[in-house]
């Protein structure tokens, strides 16, 4: 079973529409991260959420960390073709000698012009 479940897996919407994608888990996290990966590129960190209930905004992107720190959402307002890509949520495991990011499977977003 995946530690981080992302939904939906695929989303194709028209330019100008709003959308929300989700990252859920049964585990409690000290923080969660969101990345965007464009075709042919590596993931790029968008934001790290740390506090339960926290909301962070990055232009038209709004990230929320659940109160119980088990889930997170990404809301995009007025989507644009440039938002197309794979959105990954991840948890950076830093414990003893461990240091790695555990990713969900991602949501593949396609914005139609």
């Amino acid at each position: 079973t995946q530690l981080l479940e992302q939904s939906p897996q695929f989303l194709s919407i028209q330019e100008g529409e709003n959308l929300t994608v989700y990252c859920n888990s049964s585990s409690v996290f000290s923080s969660l991260q969101w990345y965007r990966q464009e075709p042919g590129e590596g993931p790029v960190l968008l934001v790290t959420v740390v506090t339960g209930g926290e909301v962070k905004k990055l232009k038209r992107l709004t990230f929320q960390f659940g109160d119980a720190r088990k889930d997170s959402s990404l809301h995009i307002t007025a989507a644009q073709p440039g938002d197309t890509g794979l959105y990954l949520c991840g948890f950076r495991l830093l414990l003893n000698r461990d240091d790695k990011i555990i990713f969900g499977k991602g949501t593949r977003l396609h914005i139609l012009p």
Binding site: Q9, D99, K100, I101, F103
Partner: protein, 115 residues
């Protein structure tokens, strides 16, 4: 400042052939990671280096995979012999240090196709 550089960007080989990937991390970054990203999945860590020391290779299939980071800068990841299931994107990432304050920066990856 240049980001993480990887080469080649694409590689197509037949099964049972060897293949090698190269990574040049961001200058001054002590920690280097190799991840593998299968189609439709998120990246998964294969190995992590602190300078020239491999401190976590627990997820590296050691029967056919090997890696090195001589002089604690560039790194190579090798597969010998390759199998069909090795087709994936191999991502290299680097971080200033092994610390939560320091972000991991990813390279563009090498897309491997084994036929």
């Amino acid at each position: 400042e240049a980001g993480v550089v990887q080469s080649p960007r694409y590689k197509i080989i037949e099964k049972k052939q060897p293949v090698a990937f190269w990574c040049n991390p961001i200058s001054g970054h002590n920690t280097l990671y190799w991840y593998r990203q299968n189609l439709g999945q998120g990246p998964e860590l294969l190995i992590r280096y602190e300078n020239e020391e491999a401190v976590d290779d627990s997820q590296l299939p050691k029967d056919r995979f090997s890696a090195e980071r001589l002089k604690g800068v560039d790194s190579t990841l090798k597969i010998q012999p390759a199998e069909l299931g090795d087709s994936a994107v191999y991502l290299c990432a680097s971080s200033l240090e092994h610390h939560p304050l320091y972000e991991q920066y990813f390279g563009p990856g090498t897309r491997l196709t084994v036929t």
